[in-house]
Symmetry: C2
């Protein structure tokens, strides 16, 4: 499958590498056509990897991962272009973290709105599914790093898009438990987990953990 | 031990009953001296139970549970009186839920502040520990309702107060795993779990669940 990964940071690199290793054609998108990290990634990825602008990548991909830092997400998607996102599954991994006031970060959108909803409103023809934003990027693509049962959340307005994403999470990435929270407004719930995630990282001294929902 | 439970709703009643059954002297506090629910609870609780105003209860208790709805918490504590809270462990179970905009609720304080911090700022001589606010009230006092491993969070500025609360959680209520998140600013993290809690309640069709932090 042809897949766009927007973002050249640790999350983008981890997702793009996993997808390329799984045999997909992956184009990593960044602000400029000559981004060194994206070019180096494409060389390392081999035949299945390529690099380009956000617009190049989004036009190429049949599905799109948005892996930028949260404060760059909307700009990256505008650069990608609404036309290239229309009708496609857009997997939103980004978090609205605000580091401008120091650590721990706060959220620049929260409570009565979310970044996931903002993306869906701004690009109404994209089929946005929010997921993976509640774990470290290594855990995203290798959930077996964490022993036993633990859960990945997803939400979005399009049931078929969520079915596609569930398959990606389970069959491609190895997630055993995926909880569909409902429509995209539930991005409020998953994005507001970040303050707990950041704090637990400090308490546990490791980013390799996840939450499990335990039922009676 | 003499304990004040402020609030006559489901949370207050559940906590007060558990404490009375454990052999403590419990005074349930409410806005008025002749609150029918508090009076009925005191009769049902037997010798260890009594009822009074918020001020009566706070003056009586060696430690204080605040179990009101979040939008009544500060008023209840003002009625209790700073002098009667000074030096005492104040266990804050309340959540800043705002139902005024319909379901699901939003939070009336969040992100860069929390209700727990607001209480500590407003009553600087109280030794505030935030805990139990992330589970249903039945689970609070009977964590074995949920099978297997799952976690209770707590936070607060006073290490001795947290040691007291840890004993209450483990020895009195039966919690096997208590995670100390750090100072009271971490109430932001636990209060912002509520949107996820509310959503999971909808998905699971039951309030009897909890989170387990699973480490690599």
């Amino acid at each position: 499958m042809k897949i766009a990964v927007l973002g050249t940071g640790m999350v983008g690199e981890t997702i793009a590498t996993k997808l390329a290793q799984s045999g997909h054609e992956v184009r990593m998108g960044s602000r400029t056509a000559n981004n060194l990290k994206a070019a180096a990634w494409a060389v390392a990825a081999g035949a299945g990897g390529s690099a380009g602008t956000f617009a190049d990548a989004a036009a190429f991909g049949e599905l799109v991962f948005i892996c930028t830092k949260g404060d760059g997400t909307l700009d990256a998607l505008r650069a990608a272009g609404a036309a290239s996102l229309a009708g496609k599954v857009l997997i939103d991994i980004s978090n609205p973290l605000d580091f401008s006031k120091g650590m721990p970060p706060s959220l620049f959108i929260s409570n009565t709105d979310s970044l996931g909803e903002t993306i869906q409103r701004t690009f109404p023809e994209a089929r946005v599914v929010k997921t993976l934003n509640t774990v470290n990027c290594r855990v995203m693509v290798e959930p077996s790093l964490i022993p036993g049962d633990h859960d990945m959340f997803m939400c979005g307005n399009d049931p078929q898009a969520k079915a596609t994403v569930r398959t990606i999470l389970t069959d491609w990435f190895g997630w055993r438990h995926v909880i569909d929270l409902g429509d995209i407004t539930n991005a409020r719930a998953t994005e507001q987990l970040l303050p707990m995630w950041v704090r637990l990282w400090g308490v546990l001294k490791s980013p390799n953990f996840n939450l499990h929902v335990v039922k009676a």
